[in-house]
Amino acid sequence: MSSTEQGTSSAAPAEPTTAPESAAAPEVPESFYYVHGKDKVVHKVSAGALQHSALIHGMISNLGYTEEQAKANPFPFENIDGDILQMVVDWCNQHKGKPTPPEDTNLPKQKEKLFDLVLAVNYLEIKELLTYCCKQVAMMVKGKSPEEIREIWMIPTDAEDEAAEKEAKKRAGKEAAGETAAAAGDAK
């Protein structure tokens, strides 16, 4: 249901990149931007590929960089691991100017990295990839028993949740007391 909506919404803006095939249309040189993750490795990505990311697309629109400026100032994503950013960039390049099919076989298969990938994709606002990642997360528990679901999705029991809540309250209380003491110290 939601994937169809998202599929149609992001397909439209990507169309101009496929247009140069027409004989009448002049060849427009593609502009490139640069991004890097936690590992500082810079990835060169075309504007067409980056249109998948609402966050980066918004940044590009607002900054109005020339290619030289873009090269000198890669977009820093310090909260994203290098290998995860590489996966995202690869996916964006593979789907440049194309809508994502319902069963996308070009997506990262490493389930161990799925959590980090979901966080990165959510942060970069890549709707189609996020939809697929959510399906992948759901697929992990297909046909599994309740205890397997608990284990795969790391669902705490009620007792564990209560203990964690108590712990968080205790910590918050200590922090509040510390801040009050510090404020009193400053006042003196």
Binding site: K111, E112, V118, A138, S145, E148
Partner: protein, 238 residues
């Protein structure tokens, strides 16, 4: 209703589903995902998986309740065995069934295809306390999916009081033969349960002679051994 008690009991039952003991390699801390992402993941599960997930913990249940589900068509049926049938009215060809089977020695999933219709079953062993578990399960489904009971086969007396307390209006009700054993019970049903579409009343097991003169406000009524249902009741009905 003791939600925790209900969930514990149901979980103990579900625990028997743990056939594969192999520890899964890949895991993901679902509750550490941003809430909108987490909800989208859950929306990709099917009804029985959502049901199982919602029984894992209070937090899981409250998370599932955050999603705006389309109301389910929920029916309690009694044929060869007792089962809860769930459907989305927008897609009647797909059905999810929670079965309680006396013959089954362990719980399992099963899918059946009848023409264009698909049924996915979660078959649970009927340990002799199926009635209590069915009631708890239905209450849980109603709460989690924000749905109400659409139809019920009343095949045991205790279901009468339970359904009256749970929901005062139901579309389809069928009461089996000899389940109603007193006029008081019959009157209580007529006063407290509004059946809007179809009301089937089996024979009433009582030696008492009585008459019902009030109409039964249902679009379609079937009564077995209907000596007690009088002409004024028929003429006054709609």
């Amino acid at each position: 209703m003791s939600v925790n008690g209900t969930e514990m009991a149901l979980l103990q039952r579900f625990g028997q589903l743990n056939i594969r003991k192999k520890s899964p390699k890949s895991r993901i801390p679902l509750f550490k995902l941003p809430q909108l992402v987490l909800l989208e993941c859950i929306e990709n599960l099917d009804v029985l998986e959502i049901l199982i997930f919602s029984l894992l913990s209070k937090r899981a249940k409250s998370t599932v309740k955050l999603i705006r589900w389309n109301p389910l068509d929920l029916r309690l049926k009694f044929e060869d065995d007792t089962h809860i049938c769930l459907k989305f009215p927008s897609d009647p060809s797909r059905e999810w069934v929670v079965d309680y089977d006396k013959e089954s020695s362990y719980p399992y999933f099963q899918s059946t295809l009848k023409g264009p219709n698909v049924s996915r079953h979660l078959v649970l062993k009927d340990n002799g306390n199926a009635m209590g578990e069915i009631k708890q399960m239905i209450e849980h489904i109603c709460e989690v999916f924000r749905s109400s009971i659409c139809g019920i086969d009343i095949f045991e007396e205790s279901l009468i009081e339970w359904v009256i307390n749970l929901q005062s209006t139901i579309q389809y009700v069928s009461i089996n033969d000899d389940i109603i054993i007193s006029v008081q019970t019959l009157n209580r049903i007529f006063k407290n349960l509004k059946v809007t579409e179809f009301f089937r009343l089996g024979s009433i097991k009582t030696d008492q002679k009585f008459e019902i003169t009030e109409p039964i406000p249902s679009r379609l009524v079937t009564i077995y051994k209907s000596y007690w249902f009088t002409l004024p009741a028929i003429l006054n009905g709609n």
